[in-house]
């Protein structure tokens, strides 16, 4: 930093500082003349918008913290006091509360943008991983923050989420006690959650710094997914993108303000205006909207994974690695051996799944369907079929599926092996990806409904399971397959040719 060549500034104060610590040179280099592809669309606004939201959250959070009391007897009332008595307290709280939602809106669009245009591919893998880490930290921060107002959803949301930890074999219960500081979500939990909720945004800030650093080394991707080849493909960041970012930010802020001023509680849950009561569980616990798709994945696993299921699953996983991830199988000699293994693995998984499901089928229904009754009787007679001997209980399975779905984001750069970045030139990838987005939204809907809900006779749990299946198949099966077999459309020569193509041709005619 700063040992290189430096252009003097005209303003003497700026020059005095810059000659001692070249911070203005640095800012100018990174945010002034910094070359950026000339063909950004509005999807490229959301990084700047997310950064803005982080600053808003830290600013409003700081002032909320000055009026907030982290104590189970006082927390709820202190938030009500912020709403009624503190000057403009309602505004600060509504900015913070809806800010969390709008921060997530911006970040979700930002992530899906990156996936559509292949921004995670070489050389931007580390940039992508840092981004995924920010997403994970944001989820933790928002979860901790939601506990602070100490309403019914705060308490019971925290109870259910920390209940996940008890699914971990052997150490789960102790881990949960360590996390809570007691045997239930209570005062020790609230005070530590407040401390962590205060800290984590600053950790996020630090990771954002690294994220932007990595971005400024590799440079931005763009809607065409091809690298800029020279100055004719780029524009200086200022004033071109400072303007475009400001415009997009203003539109975003207007929508954000509509929520703050006209429908501040639309995205929240009314039960959180009831003070937390450890003796009464609300009839229907739902997390904040931004967690719903992951909550649906958590609840989609309602079956125990017994030894049959896991054995079949392991065989299928080996086949996936051998025939899909590798160009040539290493351990499996021939295609026919592969097909035989596929049949065995599939059958084992099916036997395990059906046998376990039999334990939960309605007894009256079984009586009426003699064929199934016989099958279930036979399957349940097998050794190691019962729920107690299943190494992965339904609860643990759900937790693994949920954390796994976030973990997949981190390794995405190595799952999508196709050399072409932008979905514009990958027709198959484009369809599969857009389907993923639709399914993600459907999962969100499933997560918002009670566990036993159904639509047109189809239990939503099954919809959730199918959606979870596609989510995993997209990352582990579809992407590697497309990487090997999808033929991309021809890429343009360069950015400026693609952008100005028609104009160049028109001009050469004259």
């Amino acid at each position: 930093m700063g040992s290189g060549h430096r252009e003097p500034f005209e303003n003497p104060v700026v020059e005095w500082i810059d000659s001692r610590m070249p911070i203005f040179t640095l800012l100018n280099k990174e945010y002034g003349v910094f070359p950026v592809p000339r063909n950004f669309n509005y999807f490229w606004n959301f990084g700047a918008i997310a950064g803005f939201m982080l600053v808003v959250m830290i600013a409003t959070g700081l002032f909320l913290a000055m009026h907030y009391t982290a104590d189970t007897d006082l927390a709820f009332d202190s938030v009500e006091r912020i709403m009624r008595d503190v000057n403009g307290g309602w505004l600060i709280r509504y900015i913070h509360m809806n800010g969390a939602s709008f921060f997530f809106i911006a970040v979700y669009i930002h992530i899906f943008r990156g996936m559509y245009y292949g921004s995670y591919k070489k050389p931007r893998e580390l940039l992508w991983i840092l981004g995924s880490l920010i997403f994970l930290l944001m989820m933790a921060t928002a979860f901790l923050g939601y506990v602070l107002p100490w309403g019914q959803m705060s308490l019971w949301g925290a109870t259910v989420i920390t209940g996940f930890f008890t699914a971990i074999p052997f150490v789960g219960e102790d881990l949960q006690t360590l996390l809570l500081g007691g045997f239930a979500v209570d005062n020790p939990t609230l005070t530590r959650f407040f401390a962590l909720h205060f800290l984590l945004p600053f950790v996020i800030f630090a990771v954002v710094f690294l994220h932007v650093w990595a971005l400024h080394v590799s440079g931005s991707n763009n809607p065409l997914g091809i690298e800029p080849k020279g100055p004719q493909d780029t524009l200086p960041f200022h004033p071109y993108y400072t303007m475009k970012d400001s415009f997009g930010l203003l539109v975003f802020i207007i929508i954000y303000c509509v929520f703050i001023f006209f429908m501040p509680d639309a995205l929240g849950h009314p039960d959180n205006y009831i003070k937390a009561d450890p003796l009464v569980t609300p009839a229907h616990i739902v997390p904040e909207w931004y967690f719903l798709p992951f909550y649906a994945i958590l609840r989609a696993i309602t079956f125990n994974m017994n030894l049959y299921f896991l054995a079949g699953f392991a065989i299928l996983a080996v086949l996936l690695v051998e025939f899909v991830w590798r160009k040539k199988p290493v351990y499996i000699p021939s295609a026919s051996a592969g097909i035989a293994l596929l049949a065995v693995g599939g059958l084992l998984a099916l036997i395990g799944f059906t046998g376990d499901s039999c334990a939960r089928i309605d007894a009256a229904w079984l009586e009426a369907n003699a064929g199934f009754k016989g099958l279930c009787g036979a399957l349940q007679g097998l050794p190691f079929m019962s729920a107690e001997t299943a190494p992965v209980s339904a609860k643990l399975g759900g937790v693994l599926a949920m954390f796994g779905s976030v973990a997949l984001l981190f390794v995405l750069p190595w799952l999508d092996t196709h050399p072409v970045r932008s979905a514009r030139y990958r027709p198959l990838y484009r369809v599969c990806f857009l389907l993923l987005v639709v399914i993600f939204l459907i999962l969100g809907y499933v997560g918002s409904q009670p566990a036993d809900a159904a639509i047109a006779g189809i239990p939503l749990i099954l919809v959730g399971l199918a959606g979870t299946g596609y989510y995993y198949a997209y990352f582990l099966l579809i992407l590697p397959l497309l990487g090997r077999f999808e033929k991309a459309k021809p890429l343009p020569e360069s950015i400026h040719e693609a952008v100005l193509g028609k104009q160049i041709k028109a001009e050469t005619k004259i």
Partner: protein, 182 residues
């Protein structure tokens, strides 16, 4: 790095310096872990949290067929004064057919008194069923609204995602009408 004399090297070309660096690094790592331990341990339940770990409950105030909820270690404990029909319902099912195989006799000290921790063994909600007007589920005991677990009149899981029966806390009868939990 500085040059080493011949005697610094053993036959594999490793130096005593490499060894010293390893030892120093290992001591540093162990030291950091030991320093972190008090911080992590401070998160465990404090003495006052643990001190609330026993309570006494007067049973004569609970008429037959009703239940009382008390707090123990920050968790609700269900105390139910069971009717003969409820006891009969709990004892007439075959233990082998249950999800978590426990006989009613193993779960109570006196048949008419059922004492359980009122926390669903799935993800920790408080099941409904303490009040007469509550939903008691398909088996006449408790129903957890969170993800639909049904418990019977012995607090045993009969249907739904919960893996285990409602836990029985450690308790003893101090007299015929008084118990100590914890």
């Amino acid at each position: 790095m500085s040059a080493h004399t011949q005697s610094d090297h053993d036959k594999d070309g490793e130096t005593r310096r490499d060894f010293m660096a390893l030892v120093a690094g290992a001591f540093g790592a162990v030291g950091a872990a030991i320093a972190a331990w008090p911080l992590i341990n401070s998160l465990n339940p404090a003495k006052d949290t643990l001190a609330l770990a026993t309570i006494e409950v007067e049973l004569s105030e609970i008429p037959v067929g009703t239940a009382k909820t008390v707090m123990w270690r920050g968790k609700p404990v269900f105390i139910r004064h069971r009717t003969p029909e409820q006891i009969e319902a709990a004892r007439s099912v075959a233990t082998q057919s249950l999800i978590d195989k426990e006989a009613d006799e193993q779960r109570v000290k006196k048949p008419e008194w059922l004492v359980t921790v009122g926390v669903c063994t799935h993800l920790g909600c408080v099941p409904a069923g303490q009040k007469e007007s509550d939903n008691h589920g398909d088996f006449g005991g408790w129903f957890c609204p969170c993800h639909g677990s049904h418990y019977d009149t012995s607090g045993r899981i009969r249907k739904g995602p919960a893996p285990k029966n409602l836990a029985v806390p450690p308790y003893e009868f101090l007299s015929d009408t008084k118990i100590k939990i914890g």
